[in-house]
Each structure stands twice: as structure tokens, then as C-alpha cells.
Subunit: 466 residues, 4 copies
């Protein structure tokens, strides 16, 4: 069954049908289609198009359709072009001709835009939950790994000592930004297209503010032509997903590196590692590699949709049907990756002594420069002096801590016997007590901030009931 | 001059230097580097690292540097690796060794992240102004073209009559969403990295809240490792730019179509059209084609940066240097496209009679179905009946308005003599008085909404002074 | 069952399993896995690792597995991690311990790379067939629509008359380039990874040249580390697919435009058009819109894979598992779009009189300039003169053909009475007899060239048997 | 000056001019524009449009223009819209009205497509040279680092020993594929558009085969409408560039990893490393990080152009002007990155003893399984047994080589005293003598193959003279 056969004299070519039909993926919108249809029936009653009894029967019929969809007992027909057609077809079987009144004054153009927004609003809280879960795993690690130092890296070269807790939390805040972005997205998404008809607005006196409220939207869309065409919310979701993917790829890259024999900072538990079909000794971080790899796929979903949207001519063009698969695919990707990473983080083992072993005196070279600054040497000069110290030590194959005081003084007269205190990595981190710094006190404050952020959901889970 | 020579014994290979140097593009950050350096000097004074007099001299020196940069009298040296180096080198020439104290406790890692955020915060108001200007051109058209109908299209097929004002405004709201997105971006961007040092936080007792305030940021970043790595704000800007590009590409596509001989709805003024080197009769909508084409380039800038960010291992990696060119390129692209489109819209000529001629009775087929609905026929049945009417009329090569009443009644008994009133396009639009609909009254309300949106800047122009 | 359990003490977390498992999509490689395994068994026999009888039994067992997969009777188990595991597990059920010898000296790393290349080599001929079919539809149109002129467009403005046959053929050649690209891809793909082991090469004396020949590959890969990592062939396929998508999007855009009421050049048959759920009169070119929209998705598949590949550290990384879905998705997309477009082209109706009506005298403005050139006026001057003619005619609201000779002569003395012959569009096209030009004679030659290209497959259909 | 002013009554708005003008980037096509113009003049003479003397004067004039462009003495004017206009304007200054004959029968549409193809054909040999140079640096390393083993990695976990020469060569072959791709691209590019006019073909009897030969093209384009629109060659170049970028990013990632303190396999020379403005001890692999990061930008250039091309309606649309910047940018990016990587590779220092230290007995676990296979145990069982050996050894915190024979035998009876020979990494690599394997003999053969590939240029450097 199609919703548009009247003027056509031969039916669609089977291959064209296969290209055109969207039921295989838009069936995920079933519950949303039912809910939006019930709200529409209410609006039609309020507008005097159907009476209360008709509305009641339509509600009950849709209730049944929704139930069948949920239970998996809904019998899709080969001729169901899309979920909207399937729902209306089934409603007709249940109600008879009355079902034919439901589509009064609406179009699939405003209907599908509404369903898709509803679906996203329904599912964003789940995504926030999964992000929060990963954040809480990071907080758990930050607390559990208290008291451990590791080398901090820039350019993948050892740079300065940092608290392991601080390092874990460095992956927390990008996810917090992701949550903020999703909360912004909720506002963009909660604008109701329904009532826009095909493109010109419905000719029935629908109260779209009431309709919006009924469906948990903030407000009706201000322009019907734009309303049926607007897929900004899908693009923005895909952007959010891609950026989350990138954040996860960075975490993944770090865990993969730290799990190498060479770094040896981290060991993955057996439940989150995989082996080799050929090499019996291997223990591979597949789940983190997949997280990293899927960041690429998420980027692709975004650029694909943007390319699809570029240059479309009308209000509604069928090209827009390409919006659903990437939306679902991106959502599912994060849905499968986030909990696995959270689980792996919670159960991995760290090797503090290996991390400690990486804290050679060279990482305190900046502190050494600051030591000279404290003695009145301008930083730029101090930096140059310490550069020479580093070269000298390297030529001697000794560490900075192993040089004699005389050697230091040969390079700059301000060095005195207290210079060796500089090479205590704990003293180094303790000096960085600035907001956001790696000193234990600063990290404790940061941890409180993180825990507060964990407590505050930014996306209400009751969107659909409000 | 580099800021890091001390430990190196041979200088950089010239080709490697050329690859590594960023001055050719990061010189655009000159004013921001000066401003952030002044704020940093204040912070160093407050932290007791330099005294008031030193701070004053540094301020004056930086003032001079900033002035030279602005006037174009700043003499860059072949050895200036980047803008930060150039500014500090010049400051050294002006102040002598005192200049060497400025870099105390900061790193180029937190410095460049700060400069780039400042640059964006400084320039987003301009972008909003350009968006507002284009929006106001659309409002101008909506008002000027009052009283004109045109065919509304879906699938590029004539669908239903709409007000031309309504159609113009359909391009207004996407730009409004773009402004909202940019306003969200301001919040994401106004988080201060300065004070994060290379990655572990500065060891000096800097009040980062005061520093943030001093530079017009909302708050300091909560984690130093994340702070020097975070380029979410660049990615989000590129996403905003790409989506704006897509919105413009849709407008461009519409104008290009409507300017064809076949549509004939629009004629571009000579100031915004170009000719052919071969065909003397041509009048080409180049500026709209370029707007459409540049949407593709903007999409590329986004996917490029995302791919660059994917899988980076440390806090700061040099890969991040690839952030500036796309940011500047995207900003400049919109800066050149937006005012041209606004100018073209304001001055183009419309052909209302051509639009009117497109409103054949077939566009009122939905109204004909609604006519039957009003007579009690369920919509789905009404839709099928009208489909048959359409086929019948096509076979007769007559319009719907030209069929005899008897022919109507042969297809459904509910048709009566008043059926012909349906084919008045003004009646059709008048029926769509719902919020967001195309009826004159609804469009008048929408126009008020649009004007209010025009009045309210979402991004304060005084960011940098606050 | 996994192929790697030995050293692990707890099994994979169920969510990690779900993330890691690839059977849901790599099962499409079943036949290739069987075929490559048989070839591997041959190679093992030749290397003396198994004896002839063992090889025979393994062949028979794999035969059965292949048959079960083909018939859909293969019972996948919940524990089958991927298709390789499933095949080996099932082989074990059939053969007992002997099955355990098959994986000697190979790794899933070289196995999956081989399977995927085989799959592509097996399926590229199908894709070429689909491209040829669309090309032949274009040739059919070029022949059927012989004798029709239409306005040629640049910048979507009417430019010069062209033969409709010429216009149809302009979509033929991009597809020819696509076929050439696919033929190049065959060469890149037909390099055998099998025998590379996990990354270092198999330790058994396998004759990889014989193995390559046995599987229809050109030659073995020259470096085992590269062989297990190389996904260039997937990237290049996705590029080919994206570019084909773009070629189809251009054709689609043209058909969509020409099917508008305003152009009215083309009418889609009912079998390839769809209707509206709301507007009974609509006849929408959905299949062409989908073709256009899917070009965007294809671009996304390419940029996604490229982003995934960027910066991978080792030879084989699990990120590479993200290669299959985009490959299959791109292939399937073209597989569903190409035949529909071919079918639609073959059956659409053209309106020659509408096209003819578009050939106003203005399209011969270039010919008018050439007329002056023939009289000795330099082209640049002639172009300017004709520009003035065009303006004059526009001001008079008359066509070029309607101006008086005196008016012409007032603008340039070289105009004489024969000027009016210029405005015959058939004369205009006839003048363009250059190779590749739109003159009937040139198009006839071009058509022969096209037909020859149709006859010559560039990709042999017997790849897998060779 | 524009080439099209005739019919326009007011000049282009200055901002529109700025958007429209392309001189700032297309001036790079100067030499190609001159050369193609000279060839066109020849063709015009052969067609009888100009006489020999005129042709000679035009040639001389163009020679002068080309010389001025090369010397940098060419004075561009504010009104030069693009390079074609500038060249023709200057030619007019030199020759007077005769210059106005040059544009007879051609259009900027076929002209710019020709210039751009010529530019690419002129510059591809340079790119191949740069690729060959990097390949030769890899060959140099493979020869110089003869006799060194290192751990081979999969999933970034130590997998099996490989020859360092083999590892270096694993980066050689992707570049060889890149060269092959570029050679394929030459064929695609060497199709001449000139003579296609604006879209319909030139009306003058131009011998396009001779013209093609004259300019070093293989043949003329077969369809004029397609010829002015076809940018496949740009897209394919950007794809080639992106894939090369990805290959470089993999090499870069590896060098960055191996240069860490933790791996310690590689040290960059001072000429190819950079320091930190804050941390005096740092030695950063910036040039490799930039190579990796620029892979992202190259991916973006490709997806940007593809998005631009998607859905274009006519033959020539102005959107196509967006083709040049990405082409030049991609070319320049590779031009700056390739030689730097080659230089860095040639001069970096390796630490064989560190690599050797990584070859713990566990890397021979596969060999241990093969040892059992040689004793008649099916591989799958052998794999499981060795897995248990690995676990047992790990529990004892001993290496595989340190287990007692009794411990081995307790796990499988086939172990005998010769088991310890398995743990010699040189024996492990020697066993992999298969084609493409890591055994010294196989690598020697591979090296010969690589050197042969180095000797054979795939792209002739004399393209333009042929």
C-alpha cells in the first residue's frame, strides 16, 4: 500500500520500489509515529475536524498498533512503503474508514520530520547516560589511582610529571563538553514541524502551541517551508557524535600506547582484551582500536550528510531520506562503544612503579629554569642555561640529578646546593597548584567539580512526558 | 630566532623550517598575542613574579608591538618561527632582557590556544553582523514583495501556492539557527587555557579567574592537560560555518533556478551578474554559484580538521597547528559570501506575473481534497478521489478548473457547484493561517518575530572589553 | 568459539564481544573464505605440510561449508566471532582434528585481506555490468531522440543549441571513465596478501606465485608487513564509488530540472515516479532525488574510511575492521541505484517541441559574433558589438531575429541582409562539426565511439576462474 | 577589464567582484595559459581563421607575456578578473586589435579546463620525483640498517621479530602504489578539452587531434558538454594526494612512537627536531607530527571538492572555480612534506641494541606452535598448548626461554630438548623466506625489486614537449 496511488496508472517498478522504500530503517520510528499521530488526533479534535468519540477510537487503535510494534507482533506487509504507511494501513485494518481521517491536514513531510525529532529527543537521555557512565569510570579511576605520578607527554615526548588522577580527568572534560553540546542540541531539536503540512501549513485551525506542548516540544516551527526541510538537528547530532568519537579516539590512543610493552603503564583485563589466531602470546586492545577506528566512520557519517544537504533546491526533497541511516548508525556506534570503554577503564590494571620509573630528572628541566627565575634570572635566559645543562648531561650520559654542583655553577653562577631539591617530581607537581593544575590540592578541587558535573544531568530524561 | 634553541647543536634544516614555521598564517593572531601577553604580565605582577614598574614597561613595549603590527610597520624577520616568537623577539629589541621575563610560567601551548580563542571571540560578532545583514535583506524582501504569490515546490514539483514573503522568510530562520549556534559556541570558546603551561599548569600563583576576567573569558579551563589539547571550539566553528554554507547553498540554488529563463521569477541586477567571454547574451548568476560551491569547500574544511584531530596521542601534538588555516579560511569565506548575497537579494528584480502564471488549478488539488473532507469524506478517500480527478483532467488536457461539474460528480457525489471556489490561490493560502503557515495573517506574525530576532544580537560585540 | 582463547583466563565481556564481533557483516565473505582456504590447503600440500589425502578431505569439507553457506543452511553459532572462525569451527565439526591443520602458517590478518580482495574482484564485473547497462540506456536515448535540439546550458542559463543526443552522451563518458577507474582498481586489488602471516611472512615454504595464480591474483604482495595493513584498494573503490555517485547526481539533477513544469522537457513514467500522501496532483522524481542524495552518502563513506586509516601505528590494527561496512554499503548503493536510473531513462518521455521552443534567437548570439568574425571583425570586438545588440533588443523587448537590418547596421557596418540566417539553430549546431562537437555528423561519430566502448568490457567476468 | 562587458549596463559590485575574481590563485596557470594560447593560435591558422603572419605575431606576443610572467615583471591590473583576462589584456597592449582574434572560437570554459590539465601534467613529474626521493631514502635505510632486528607489531603489541630493513621497506610499497596511481591519473588527465567552446564545440574547423598532440595530450575529449564540466582529474588527484598523506601519516606515527623514550629505537637529528619554548629538555618530532596532521587536511580537500561537485546542474557551472585552490594546496602540501621526511629519514639515528632488547622469547610463541606442528600436532591444538605455556610463564614471571623442559612436557608430550632453539630470533626470521617474508634472503630479493622500481619512472618528465 502506498499513501498516494490515486493519480498513477501503473505501479512502481520493483527495483525503483526497493530504492524508494524506507521501511527497513524507518521502522525504528514506530513508537514516535504512533505518539505523534495520537497528538495529531487530539489536535484534529480540538480543531473540530473529528469528534471526541472518533478521537478516542483512533487513540485506542494507535495504542494497539504501538503495542504490536513493541511486542514484535506487528505484521509488516510487502507493500508498506515506510513506517507511516504501515501504521496507517494497520490502523485502517483495525478501525475501518475512520483511519482515513487521521491524515487530514498533515503530510508525510511534516510527519517524518516530527517523528525523527521525537526519536532523537527520546534517545538523547540514553546517550547522556552513557557519557555520564564513562565519565564516572574516569572519576573512579581518578580516585582509585590517587597518589600515583606519571610522565606527562607533549609531542609524545616526556614533558613534566603529572598526577595520574589529573591525567584521567583530562578525558573527563571533553565528555562534559559533549554533554553540553547535546543539551544545546535538545533546544534546537525541540521545535515542532507538525502542522506545516507538505510545505505551506495545514489549512485546519490547529493550535500548534498546544500540539507542541502535548508532544514535549518547546515551540512550533516559525515557517512551514523551512520546517519540512530543516535537518540541522540531524547534522548537529552527527557533529556531536563525531566529536565524541574523536574524544574517545584520543583516550583509546592513549590506552593503546600505555598498554604496549614499551610503556607498560596499563594492562587490560582479559574481559576486555582479545588474542591472536596465530600468535598465542598476544593480548590485543581491540576494543580501544575499534573505538579509535569508529571515530573515522563517525566523521564520515557527518560529511556524508552535509554533502547530501548541500544545494538542495526545494523545501522537501527526497534526498532528505538519507538522514535516518546515519543518525541511527552514529547513535548505535556510540551506544556500543561507550559502555565497553567504561567497563574496560574500571577494570584495567595500572603499574605505578613503571610510571614512576619514567620520571627521570630531565622532566624537571622546566622546574630547573624556574629555580633560576626564582633567583632573579629572566626566564628566557634561564631557559637557555638549562638547555645547555641538558646538553652537557647528555654528553656525559648522566642525568641532571647526577651532575656535580660545580658543573652547574660552571654554566650559571646562580646555581647553589639547593638545586637538587628541584628533581623531586612530587615537589614539581606540588608547585602547580594553580586552578586546573596538577598539584594534588588543585586536582582535589577539580575532582569535586567533576563529581558535581556527574550529579547534574543536562538533559532531562522525561522529555517525552513533559 | 626560536624560543627553544638551548639544547640543540645544529639548526633546523631549511625545508624542515619551512614546514614547521607558521608565521605566514598565525600572524593574524598578532593583536591577540599582544593582548594576552599584557594580561599575562598583569597576572605575573599579581603573582609577585615581576614588579609594577616592570609590568608597566612590558605593557608599553607590547603596546608598541601591537601598534607596529596594526600599522604594518612591524618588521618580521626570516627567523621568526611564529607570531609568538616574533612578538617576543621584537619586545626584546624594545625592552632588552626584561622581555625575557614575560614568558615566565607560560608555554606556547597555552599561549596559542588562548590567542586563537581570543581571535575567534573577537571575530564572531562580525560574523553575526554579516548574518544579520543577510537576514535583514530577506526581511526587506519579505516586506517589499508583499502581496505576491508563487508556486511552492516540493521535489522541485509545483506543490501549493505560497506567499513570496513566506518563501523569503524560509531562508531567514536557518540563519537564525546559525546565530544561535554561534552564541552557543561563544560559551564553549570563552574558557581560558592560559595558566595551563605546557600541560601541567603554571608553577606560579596565578589567579586564573582574574586572568580570565581580564581577557573577557567566562572562566579558566578546569584541567591543564585537556586545556592545551582542546580544539573543540575550532571544530564547532567549522561545523557552524559548514552548516551556514549549506543554508546559503540552498538559497543560492533557489535563486539560480528562479533566474533561469524557464522559471523567470527573478532577474539579477547587473552589479551581481556576470557575462560570458564567448556568448554575448549570457547573464550568469556566478555569485550564487560560488556561494553554492563554497559550501562544499566549507564541508571539506570541517572534515579535514576532524580527521586531523582523530587519534592524537598526547596533550599537545604539533598536528594541532593545522587548526588555524581552516579556521581563517572558513571565516573569510563567509565574510566574502554573506555581504554579496545580501546585496544581490536587496537589488534583484522579481516577476510577480510569472509567479502568478505558475499557479495553475492543479496546485489546489490538496484544497480540493480538503473540500471533500469538509463534506464529510475521510481524507484518505478524498485524496484518492482527487487523484482520479487529476488523471481525468490530464487525459482531457484540461485544468481542474475547466472540468464540468458533471465530470466532478461522476467521480464523487459530494462535489457541488461551489467546488470552483477552491481554485482561487489566494483562498488557498488564506486557509493556512496556522502558526508558521503561509496565510497573510500568519506571515505578518512571522515577520514581526523575524524583526524582533533581528533586533536582538545574540553575541555581544564588546567581548574583548568586558 | 574464538581462534585465540588459549592464554586467556576469563572470557570477553558480552558488550565488548558485541563491539568486537564482525560476523554480522563479514559473513558476506563466506564464499571467498572457503575458496581462499581451499587454495591455502593446496599450498600447504605443495609445501609438504599436509598430505594429498588430507588436502582432499579438507577440500571436500570446505566444499560442504561453502554449500551450506550458499543454501542458507549454515548454522551460525552465537560464539562465532567472525566468518573465518565460523568456517573453521564448522570444518572442525565435519572433519574433526584435521580441520585444525588448515590454519597452519596463516593468520586472520592475511586471510581477511585476501578474502576482501577476492570479494571485490568477484563483484567488480557486476558493477561494470550495471555501469554498461546505464551507458546503454544513454546510447538508446541518443539514438531514439535523434533529430531533436534543446538549449544547452551553462550556469543554468541557456547558452547554445545542442543536439539532445549529444546531451545524453555527455552523461555517457563520465561512466566510461568510471569503468576505466575500476579497471585500474582491478590491477591494484589483484595483489595477494595470503602467505604474509600475521605480519612477518609464513614460515612454511609456500609458493606464493602459484597461490596467487590459483586464486586469480596477478602476483603476491612484495612485503608482508605492508600486505596485512594495505587497504588502499578499499579506499580507491570508495573513491570510484563516490565519483560515480557524483556523476549520477549530475544526471539526476538534470532530469529533476527537466521534469519540472517550468522546463517541461521530460516526463517520468509512472513506474519511476512517486506521489504525495497529501497532494494528489504530485508526480515526484524520487528515484532521481535519491540518486542525488546518495552521492552525499557515498562521499561520506570515503571520507570516513580515510579518516579511519589516518595515523594507524602498526601493520595490522583492529581499526581496519571498519573497512568492510563502507565497502559493502557503497557497492550495494550503486547496485540499487544504477539499474533504476537505467530503467527510468529508457522509459521516460521527452517533449521535443518544448525543447525547440527554448531555442530563441538569443542562443545564437555567439554565432552572430562569429558572423562578424567571418566578415573580418576581430572576435573580441565582435563580442562587444553583439553585447550591444543584445541590450538593444532587450530594451525593445524584441528578439535578435526581430531587429531590423538598419538597427543592426547602426551598431556595426559589417551586418548585411544575410544576418538572419544566423538564427537557425540547426545551422548553429551544424557549424560545430569539430571532434566532440554537437553537429549531427560529429555526434554520429561520437555515437560509434560510444557503441564500441559498450562492446568492450574492461573488467573480465572470469576473474575468479582464471 | 573583463572579457564579457558588452551587454552589461552597470559594473559589478566591488564585493561581488572580490568574490568572483580568481586571479589571486589562478595566476599560477600563467605559463599554461600562454602555451595553450599559442597552440590555439596554431590551430586557428591551420583552420584558416588567422594567417601565418598573424599567428607569428601572436606567438611572439604571447612569448613576451610568458616571459614577463616568469620574470615577475608582468603588471597585473586591478581589473584583471582572472589569468585568462590578464593574459589577453596584456596581449592587447602588445599587439593591438590583433590580440582580439585569439579568443575566436574558444571560451574560458574550455580554456581553463585545458590550462588546469596542462598544469597538472606539467607538475606530476615533480611529485613523482619527490615520491621517488622518499622511496630512495627508505631504500638507503634498508641497506644501511642491514643486520638489525626489531620487534614487529600488530595492534601495537609486539608480535614477531622482523628485519629492520623489511620494516623500512614496508613504507616503500605504498609509495610505489601512489606512483602507479599518479601514472593512471596522467592518462585520465591527458584528454584535451580545448575546442569544446563554451559547451557545444567550436564552430571553426579545428583539427583537435593535432591540437592535442601539439600540447602533449593523448587525444581530444569526445563530448564538448562533458569536456567543460569534467573535473574527475582534480578529484582523482586529490584522492591520490590524500592517500599519499595517509601513507605518510603511518610512517610519521611509527617514527613518532619509535622516537619516544619508552621505545627508544630512533633519535631524530637536531636538524629535523624542534624544542620547547618552556621545557628545555624537549626534542620534539614536529615535522612528523605535521606530516601526520596534514593527512587530515588532505582528506578535507578531497571531501570538500567532492561535495562541491555533487549535484551540479549544467555543463559549466561557476562552482567549478572551487577546483583550483584545493589542487594547488594539496600539491604544495606534499611538495613541502615529502622532502623533509626524506631528509629526516636519511639522517636519523637508530638504536639497534634497544630493538634487540625488545625481542623477548614471547615473540617466538608462534614459532613454538610451529615447532609442535612440525612434530605432528595440528596447528589449532598447538596454538592452544602454547597459549597455556604463555600463561604459565606469565604466572611464574619467567620468559618462555626460562621454563624447564619438564614444565613444557607437562603441558604437551611432544616438547623435547630442542625446544630452546626456537627462541633465537634470527632463526625465527630466517624461517620466513617466503616471497615478501622477513628472512634476510627474501628481503634481499625484495630490495632488488625496490631498486628496480626506483629506476623506472612511471611518469615521463617530458610530458609537455612530446
Amino acid at each position: 500500500m502506498t499513501l498516494w496511488g490515486g493519480r498513477f496508472q501503473s505501479s512502481l517498478d520493483p527495483q525503483a520500489w526497493a530504492l524508494n522504500a524506507s521501511l527497513s530503517f524507518d521502522r525504528r520510528l514506530g513508537q514516535q509515529d504512533v505518539r505523534a499521530s495520537q497528538a495529531w488526533a487530539n489536535a484534529l479534535q480540538a480543531a473540530g475536524v473529528i469528534d471526541a468519540q472518533e478521537n478516542e477510537r483512533i487513540h485506542a487503535g494507535l495504542q494497539q498498533v504501538g503495542h504490536e510494534l513493541q511486542q514484535g507482533t506487528f505484521a509488516f506487509q510487502p507493500g508498506d512503503e515506510d513506517i507511516h504507511t504501515a501504521v496507517e494501513r494497520r490502523l485502517g485494518e483495525i478501525l475501518g474508514p475512520l483511519a482515513g481521517k487521521l491524515h487530514t491536514g498533515r503530510s508525510r513531510n511534516d510527519q517524518v520530520a516530527t517523528d525523527l525529532r521525537l526519536w532523537l529527543l527520546d534517545h538523547l537521555p540514553e546517550l547522556e547516560s552513557a557519557l555520564i557512565d564513562l565519565q564516572s569510570a574516569l572519576v573512579m579511576r581518578a580516585e582509585a589511582d590517587h597518589g600515583t605520578l606519571l610522565p606527562g607527554y607533549t609531542h609524545l615526548q616526556r614533558a613534566q610529571p603529572v598526577l595520574l588522577s589529573h591525567w584521567w580527568l583530562s578525558f573527563f572534560w571533553p565528555l562534559q563538553r559533549d554533554r553540553e553540546r547535546l543539551a544545546n542540541l535538545v533546544k534546537l531539536t525541540a521545535v515542532l514541524p507538525l502542522g506545516s503540512g507538505a510545505l505551506a501549513g495545514t489549512p485546519y485551525p490547529i493550535d500548534r502551541f498546544a500540539l507542541a506542548k502535548n508532544l514535549g516540544f518547546d515551540r512550533p516551527s516559525p515557517n512551514s517551508i523551512d520546517a519540512v526541510a530543516d535537518r540541522d538537528f540531524v547534522a548537529e547530532f552527527l557533529f556531536c557524535a563525531a566529536l565524541t568519537g574523536i574524544h574517545l579516539s584520543k583516550l583509546a590512543e592513549a590506552v593503546i600506547l600505555f598498554s604496549t610493552t614499551e610503556f607498560g603503564y596499563i594492562e587490560l583485563p582479559d574481559q576486555y582484551a582479545t588474542g591472536s589466531s596465530l600468535m598465542p602470546q598476544k593480548k590485543n586492545p581491540d576494543v580501544f582500536e575499534l573505538a579509535r577506528g569508529k571515530a573515522g566512520s563517525l566523521i564520515g557519517l557527518l560529511s556524508g550528510l552535509l554533502a547530501t544537504l548541500k544545494g538542495l533546491p526545494s523545501s522537501y526533497d527526497k534526498d532528505l531520506q538519507e538522514d535516518k541511516l546515519p543518525l541511527f548508525q552514529a547513535f548505535d556506534t556510540l551506544g556500543v562503544v561507550l559502555p565497553v570503554l567504561a567497563g574496560a577503564l574500571r577494570t584495567l590494571r595500572i603499574y605505578p612503579e613503571r610510571m614512576q620509573a619514567g620520571l627521570e630528572a630531565g622532566l624537571m628541566a622546566t622546574d630547573l629554569a624556574d629555580y633560576l627565575v626564582a633567583k632573579g634570572v629572566p626566564f628566557r635566559e634561564a631557559h637557555t642555561v638549562v638547555g645547555k645543562v641538558v646538553v652537557w648531561a647528555a654528553q656525559q650520559a648522566r642525568s641532571l640529578a647526577e651532575l656535580e654542583l660545580a658543573e652547574y655553577q660552571a654554566l650559571h653562577p646562580s646555581f647553589t646546593a639547593d638545586v637538587y631539591r628541584v628533581f623531586d617530581p612530587w615537589a614539581s607537581v606540588a608547585r602547580r597548584e594553580v586552578t586546573g593544575g596538577t598539584a594534588p590540592a588543585a586536582v582535589a578541587t577539580q575532582l569535586e567539580l567533576a563529581k558535581t558535573a556527574l550529579q547534574n544531568r543536562l538533559i532531562s530524561t522525561g522529555e517525552q512526558e513533559s
